[in-house]
Every structure is written in C-alpha cells, then in structure tokens.
C-alpha cells in the first residue's frame, strides 16, 4: 500500500511540477497578487519554506500511514493555497509582488524535486514515464479542444490574451517629437540631445498649441542664446503618464541615445482605470514590474507557443471567471480609487530613473510642476509626501531638481497654473527659463562639466539674443538714469547702433556698439513713465553709415539684414514649400500661395498666411488687400519684406488680372505661375514693378540670400551695470 501511495505521490508531484507553472502563466497577468493583511511577502515565503521542510521530514521518517497521508495532503495543498491566497484576496496596501510570488513557487518546486529524487532513487524510470504521460495528456486535451468547432467557444475565450491588461497599460509611448527650431544648421558639432519624459505638463496638455509647451520654449531659448552650439530637444511625454510610466519612457531611448533626460514626474496612477473593467487592481509599480517580467518571458522559446494554445485560453478564461467571482464576494464594490501613485512608489520610480541614468551615462534633471495650490475644501497644512520623496531622491543621487514649488513665490505660482497641476502658457515659459538656468548656472556646473567638455560647449558663455530684455524694478523709477553694459560679439569689423525701448514703446538710440564691451546710459526722459516692474528692451540697428551687412533683395536698392532660404515646389516639382529667416522656418506649409511677412530692420517674422486658390478664386483680391494693408501700416522706408512661395499649385482657379496687380504692388512683373508650376517672389510693398526678386518654372526653385553669418550678426549681450 505504501509503495502504491509512493507511486501516486510521485505522479501527482510531477503533475504539480508541470501544471503549477502553466496555471500560473495562464493566469497572467490579470490575476492580481494581493492579499490582505500585514504579513509581508518575505514572511510568507519563509513560512512556506518551513512548511515544506516539515512535510519532507514527516514523509522521510513517518511510520504510520496517517502521518504519511497528512504529509502528502499538506504537500499538495500548499501550492494551491499560495495561489489562492495571492490571487483572490482583495487589494491591500501590502501586496505580494511578483518577486516574492516567484520565490515561493521556486522554493516549492525545488523542495518537490529534491523530495521526489530523495524518495524514489529506485523508481526513476516510472517517474519519467509519468512525466511523459502528463505531457501527453495535456497535448491530448489541446488536440481535443482544437477539434471542437470555433463557434462553441465564446469570444472572450478565443481572444488571445495580452501580456498585460489593457486597462492597466501605461499610455502608449510615442516616438520622441522634435521641437521646431534651428536644426543645428550653423553648427558642425554633435548635437546635445535632450529627451523629455513625463506626463501631461510635458506633453503640452491641455494647451491648444503644443508650441506653447516648455519643451518648445526650451528649444527656442537654446537656439536663440547659444548660437553655434547644437541642442536638440525631444519629447516622449504622454498625457496621463505617471512617475512609473516615465521609467518605461526612459528605457526606450531614441537612437542615437539622449545625453540629458528631463524627468517630469507626474503623480498619476493608472490604477483608477482598472476599476472600469473587471480586472483586479494593480498599482503602476506592480504593473511595471510585471510588464518587465513578461517582456523577458516572451523571449523564452516556447512560451509564445504555449500562449497560443487553446488549452491556455480555456484555462485562463475559467481562472479569470473564478477570480472575479471570488474577488467580488470578498471585496464587493467598496474598492477605493487611488488617483495618485503612493509616495513610496513615486520615490521608488525616481530612484530607479536615477540609477538608470547612472548606468547609461545620462544626465538626469528632475522636473516638478505640481502645484501645492489647494483645491476646494483642503486644509492649508497638507504635507506633500511626493515632493519630499522627490527632494530625497534628488539629494541621494545628486541630481538637479527644477521645482516650481521652490523656485517661485506663492504670488508667482498663482499666475502659472490653470489647474491644480496644469501649467498655463506663462508657466511653461517660466519653466523653460528655469531649465535653461539649471544647464548653465554656476551652482550646478560640476554636474555638467564632463558632458559640456565632451560636446565642446562653453557653459560660461554669456547668453546672446536679438533683443535683450532687462527688468526694471521699483527702485529704478527713482533713478535719473540707468546704466547698461553691452557688447555685440559678432560685430568684429562693422559697427551698429544700440537701440532701447521701454515696455515695447518707441525705440531710442543709445549709441554705437561693436564687439568691445561698453557702458550705455538710458536717461530719465527716455524711460518716461515706469510701471512697478518695467522692462527695457535692447537691440541692434544698422548705423547711418552702413554698419551691418545687408543683403540686396531685388534691384531697387533695398536690402535685408538676415539670412533667407526660400524653396518652392509646384505639383511638378514635389509640391513643397520652405521659407526660413535666419534658419527658423516661418511658412504656413499649405497648398497655394504661402506668404511670410518679415520686418526689414531686424529680420523678425511679423506674420504668415496662406492664400489657396482652390478655396476661393478671389484669392488675388484678398492677397492684394492683405499686401496693401501691410504697406499702409508700415512707416516710410520700413516696409516689410514679403516672401511669396507656391506650394503645389497657384495657377488654377485664379483671376489673373487681380493677382498680377497684387504682385506688381510688391515689385513683381505681374507674372502668374501656370498650373502646378513653382513660384517665388520677394519684394517690398510699394516697390516699382519689375524690381523684386522673382522666379517661376516647372523645376524646384531654391533661393538663398545672404551668408549664414548674418544669423549671428545681430546678437548682443547686455546687463545692468
């Protein structure tokens, strides 16, 4: 009898050894692994090990059949108990993670194997036969299931389960989007790639235009202030992503990989979404760990084959139904939604991000845009555990932290948020400025030294700009004059005039400026009425004696101070358009006549518009009115440069006489492109007909005016003395 029991025991052991992992894998991932109580996973694991050791001891030395049967019972009941406890208990704060669950199963399996081998040295062949028998039985079941017509199975059974429950997946990671700007046109250096990972704030939600997001402002600041150096800001942020999702975004680096990663740590937890479905609830952190495990598992040969079997689908379906039934019985509808990731998980994700950065030689910057502004009914003294976790992680790994919470006053903060944790356009601009300062501030210089040296960037270089704005505080209103130190470093030969204006008022010339640093004085008369926080804007203007280089446009003697690049492709030449001033693209990129209006002294884009003949045959009249309006409003001698470039087609459905009139007004000959022809016209309102730069034809037209050096000619640096 004992020998028979041993055979049965061994067969069942084999069955368990094979079936338990299959059951476990079939149950992934919606079988949640929570249990209620305060026992940690480690304690559960230790208890399990002791249990197994006891069972083994009883089995080896048991003399009575009752003791032997009890040992068998405990032995087989144990794995079922572990799975039941971990699968069907309602969610609680101390959940068993995948790690502990696997440790329990591993120990159980190891003990079972040693038990089998120790007890049956002389019965190996029957044991192996049992193993083959079990596998054959499983295969037979699979074949039988496949023989059943498909219609018999419900749709839920036949659907191939995903690796993770869709309701608990993070938002899909998108390909990093490049902020529009200068594409390193004036630099031969390797770009410094800045990857932004984060949630709604980084993705620009809920702003209507993504160009108002801090990601784009940061690119603009780097382009404007660091000419000759190349920075590329990429955004992989997805609205709704929390701190744990950010890890996932980081781990999928673009190619080539980033040098700097801005980690905008959202507090969201996707756990709330799971409540809408029937799945059990997992926190983001557990979901992340589970996802990583199954991603590795999916690469194991044979696993995907097993997932595709019908027995897997059936087993999984009924296990899920059983789980849901029990979960509802136990917990009912009283599950509480957790909209925020726990501060412990939040801190863990940040530390993981920091470690990932250290392993991959990435410079990490933590960005916190969460406002402590209190929504309705909240007490004033609500501790922000997440912010504390963020500060701790930043300190532990010596990572710069840009936090609007600490970098702004309460009054400033009120102006930067449109919701409890949503930045408005002003907030995004402020954040971009803060990030720029972190890159080049002396306080954080040691963090960046190696990277800047590798990329040949001089962090101490003064920030340059086409217009420098200096804030005037309340004290300035009492002074009779304001002294300004300024230099135009790229004016090595030529000279220009330094012009100033207060609060975007009229321009006043302060003096002649060159590459040498000089001090200029703005008098009280020029400043006029100052508001509590005034602003003085400084920029360069061509001197009366010529000064800066100016590129002639057309034949009437007028010139333009910036680098221009215009491309027009009709339908016969690729249907494309490109109009860039100083490397910054300004065209609307629409079919028809793309018009860009550029201010003539500094080369700033004033407006851009598209006039598509396919929408209205009155395009000539509309364009004529538009150009005349520009001409009327401009001061004499300061008429804007008009760039007209056709994309796709500008020759059909037009009233040719009116359109020719419009073109003649800006110096064109009155030529209208034929259907699907390319066409470019650069002229000034009021110029004599035939004096503008004009090209038309069936080929692609590509015009460049001026040297790229003009891009830097008007840059200056200024500061209060």
């Amino acid at each position: 009898m004992k020998a028979f029991s041993k055979k049965v025991l061994r067969t069942m052991l084999l069955l368990c050894l094979v079936a338990a992992p299959l059951i476990f894998l079939a149950a992934e991932p919606p079988l949640a692994v929570y249990y209620q109580g305060r026992i940690s996973g480690a304690a559960l694991c230790g208890a399990a090990f002791l249990f197994l050791a006891l069972c083994y001891a009883i089995y080896r030395w048991a003399k009575s059949r009752i003791a032997f049967s009890a040992a068998c019972l405990v032995m087989y009941a144990f794995p079922a108990a572990v799975i039941l406890i971990t699968c069907f208990a309602p969610p609680g704060p101390n959940s068993v993670t995948d790690f502990w669950r696997f440790l329990v199963l591993f120990l159980w399996g190891a003990a079972a194997v040693s038990f089998y081998c120790g007890a049956g040295e002389r019965l190996i062949w029957p044991g192996l036969f049992g193993l083959v028998l079990v596998l054959s039985s499983l295969y037979a079941v699979e074949l039988a299931l496949r023989a059943v017509p498909v219609d018999v199975f419900s749709k839920q059974i036949l659907s191939v389960p995903s690796f993770a429950d869709m309701t608990q997946l993070p938002p899909p990671r998108k390909e990093p989007v490049r902020a529009p700007g200068r594409i390193c046109a004036d630099s031969a250096r390797t770009p410094v790639r800045i990857l932004v990972v984060g949630g709604a704030a980084s993705a620009g939600e809920p702003l209507l235009a993504p160009s108002l997001s801090y990601v784009f402002h940061l690119q603009r600041l780097l382009d404007e202030r660091r000419p000759g150096e190349c920075f590329e800001v990429l955004s992989a942020a997805v609205a709704g992503a929390g701190a744990v999702d950010v890890l996932h975004q980081m781990q999928q680096q673009p190619s080539p990989p980033a040098d700097i990663v801005l980690v905008e740590s959202g507090r969201e937890n996707l756990e709330q979404r799971a409540l809408n479905g029937s799945s059990a609830i997992l926190s983001d952190r557990e979901m992340h760990q589970r996802r990583m495990f199954f991603e590795r598992l999916s690469r194991v040969p044979g696993y995907l084959t097993w997932r595709r079997t019908r027995s897997f689908a059936v087993l999984r379906y009924y296990l899920l139904a059983l789980r849901d039934g029990i979960a509802k019985t136990i917990s009912g509808p009283a599950l509480k939604t957790k909209y925020r990731v726990s501060s412990a998980d939040f801190g863990w994700a940040l530390r993981e991000a920091a470690r990932y950065g250290a392993r991959n030689d990435l410079r990490i910057v933590f960005v916190d845009v969460f406002s402590s502004g209190q929504p309705k009914g909240r007490s004033l003294a609500r501790p922000d555990d997440h912010a504390a976790a963020l500060v701790r992680a930043a300190k532990a790994y010596d990572i710069p932290l840009v936090s609007l919470e600490t970098n702004s006053t309460p009054a400033q903060k009120r102006e930067m948020f449109c919701g409890p944790h949503l930045l408005n356009a002003a907030g995004h601009r402020f954040l971009a400025q803060q990030l720029y300062d972190v890159f080049f501030a002396p306080q954080t210089a040691s963090y960046w030294t190696a990277l800047w040296q590798r990329k040949n960037i001089d962090p101490a270089r003064k920030p340059l700009g086409k217009e420098i704005r200096l804030a005037l505080g309340a004290l300035d209103t009492a002074q009779s004059e304001i002294r300004i130190r300024a230099t135009a470093p790229f004016l090595t030969v030529e000279k220009a005039l330094l012009a100033a204006r207060v609060d975007y008022g009229a321009l006043h010339i302060l003096g002649v400026i060159g590459k040498d640093e000089q001090v200029f004085t703005a008098s009280r008369e020029m400043l006029g009425v100052l508001r509590p926080i005034g602003e003085i804007g400084l920029r360069l203007e061509r001197s009366a004696s010529g000064g800066l280089k100016c590129v002639p446009v057309g034949t009437d003697g007028r010139c333009f101070p910036a680098h221009l690049h215009v491309i027009s492709g009709g339908g016969t030449a690729g249907a494309r358009v490109y109009a860039a001033v100083d490397g910054l693209r300004a065209d609307p990129d629409a079919s028809g006549y793309n018009v860009v209006v550029v201010e003539p002294r500094f080369g700033e884009v004033i407006a851009s518009a598209c006039f598509n003949p396919q929408n209205s045959e009155a395009v000539g009249q509309t364009l004529d009115a538009f150009l005349h309006e520009l001409g009327r409003n401009a001061p004499a001698g300061q008429e804007p440069l008009i760039i007209v470039a056709v994309k796709s087609d500008g020759g059909q459905n037009v009233k040719r006489r009116e359109l020719a009139e419009a073109f003649r007004y800006i110096g064109g000959t009155g030529t209208i492109p034929r259907p699907y022809e390319s066409f470019v016209l650069l002229g000034f309102p009021g110029a004599a007909p035939g004096t503008a730069l004009e090209k038309t034809g069936r080929e692609l037209i590509d015009i460049q005016l001026g040297s790229p050096a003009l891009r830097t000619a008007y840059l200056l640096y200024a500061e209060r003395e």
């Binding site: 006053t409 919701g419 356009a425 002003a426 804030a471 009425v529 508001r531 926080i533």
Partner: protein
C-alpha cells in the same frame, strides 16, 4: 384655391416661428446682463479671441443639452459663466480640455479700445455658510491697467502686464494690490485681517481716477493705490484654484471713440450669464 390655402398656412407658420425666435433673442439679451452699451466691434487686431458658441447664448437654459450647458459653464470663472460677446480670452489661454482648466483670465472686450477708461467697478461676493477661520481663502482677482501684445509666432509675448486687486475671501480676509509683468509679481499694497461673516454678501467697490485707485468694502474705504494711467488698459476678472463666490459684477466706464468713429459714451457693463438656481456652483 388649394394653392392659396397652402401658401396662407406656410406664411402663418413662418410668422409663428419668426415670433418665437425673436422672443428667444430678447431673452438672451436679458441673460447677458442687460448690457446697455453693446460690444466693441472686432477690428481684427484684437489680442482676444473672437466670441464662440454664440448660438448657445441665444437659447433658453432648458433647451440646452447637458453638453451645451457644460460649454456655457466653462466659459467663465468657476460658478460664474460669462457672456463671450462681452468677455474674451487671449489665444494662449484657450485650452483643448476646458473642464480641466480652473483658472484663466477673462477680459472685457471693450477694454481693448484706446479710449476706454474705467470709472467704477463693483464686485458682490460672499463667503460660504460654513467658512472656518483656518480654511483656505477663496480668491478673486480684478485685473485693470493691463497690456498684452502677443509675439508674431509662439514666442514670448512682447508685453504682458497687468495690475491686480486680489480679494482673498475668508473669515479674516485680505485685499492686495499687485502688479504682474510676465512671471514677475510685485506686491504694491496690502490690507489684512478684514473680518468677514460667513453666509453674508459683501460689495467691494473700486473707484478709479487716472492717478489713483481706491477700493471700498460696503462703502468703507479700505486701500488705495497711486500710479499712472491706472484706469486704462485691459480690464477683467480671474479666479483661482479656489474661487470666491461672485454674485454680481458691474463696471462703469467711458468707452471713448469706437473704431467706426462713434463715441461710445459711458457704459455699465456686466456680462454675467444668469443660470437657474440649481445650476449655480456654490462653494
């Protein structure tokens, strides 16, 4: 004969429909706060976005669908819908998911007019019935003397500044004059510990002269500010994450010469959209 009878009935039906729509339009004007001055015409150079969804404001509240009601409620401060014909927002304050947005400034369209001069504004506000001494104050900002010039592209605005009168309504209320230029904010004057009673309404009146602004609470002078051209420029309202309950707002101003050459005269502006009692958001 038959043709005549059909034509007669069609005409009769058309007359009934016409009268019905005219009555609705009349009711809509009433809902718009009884504005006696009309709205400044859009000259095409406005920094404020054109009015949208005007059709909804011509309909009775009961005729609106739930979605349309949300649209009406979302254009304004929390609990205080505003009429888009009188109030406008800047382009950078338009968001894709308006229900997520709690705070954004609303400006009187007519305040863009160069001849616009505020004379007096009054805000009727109140505390919730259960206001506690340690509760977070509910805030309402009255904006005046503002200037906003957007950049040609999506860059930083060329000018973005405003004066603000901030009421932090609580049992111990505060009134503060502030000036904001871009992200810099400077406090100009402040009065603290103004004792307010829960479940009572108060009227804060702001009187303007070109060089001075004075605010009064129920007729008692509170705080003053001296400056230059304080009564000109963009004028508006802004809430906060916790916005004070505003029951009424009136502003008297000289409109000056309108773009078509007509003198706008002195106007009383309101522009609050009256909601049925059960739809008013309370604190």
């Amino acid at each position: 004969m038959l043709v005549f009878r059909v034509a007669h009935r069609v005409l009769y039906l058309g007359l009934i429909i016409g009268v019905f729509w005219l009555s609705l339009a009349g009711q809509a004007a009433q809902a718009a706060g009884g504005n006696s001055c009309g709205v400044a015409p859009d000259t095409g150079k406005s920094a404020l976005l054109p009015a949208k969804n005007l059709r909804l404001y011509n309909l009775k509240w009961a005729m609106l669908t739930e979605k349309q009601r949300v649209v009406v409620k979302n254009f304004g401060l929390m609990g205080l819908p505003l009429d888009p014909r009188i109030w406008g927002i800047r382009a950078e304050d338009e968001f894709s998911a308006a229900p997520l947005v709690w705070v954004r400034p609303f400006y009187l369209r007519v305040s863009e007019s160069p001849g616009f001069q505020v004379e007096e504004a009054s805000i009727e506000f109140g505390l919730p019935d259960d206001a506690q001494a340690d509760a977070q104050p509910a805030v309402i900002d009255f904006l005046f003397g503002g200037a906003f010039v957007p950049a040609a592209g999506s860059g930083e605005p060329l000018v973005d500044s405003t004066y603000m009168l901030r009421i932090e309504a609580a049992v111990n209320a505060e009134v503060t004059f502030l000036f904001r230029s871009r992200s810099a904010v400077e406090e100009l004057a402040r009065l603290e510990n103004i004792a307010l009673q829960p479940a009572r309404r108060y009227v804060l009146t702001v009187k303007f002269s070109p060089q001075e602004v004075t605010c009064f609470l129920d007729g008692v002078p509170l705080l003053g500010l001296r400056g230059a051209e304080l009564n000109r420029g963009l004028t508006g309202l802004k809430g906060a994450l916790r916005t004070a309950a505003v029951y009424d707002f009136k502003l008297r101003a000289q409109i000056g010469t309108l773009p078509q050459g007509v003198d706008g005269g002195v106007c009383v502006l309101g522009g609050l959209v009256a909601l049925p009692e059960e739809h008013v958001l309370s604190e």
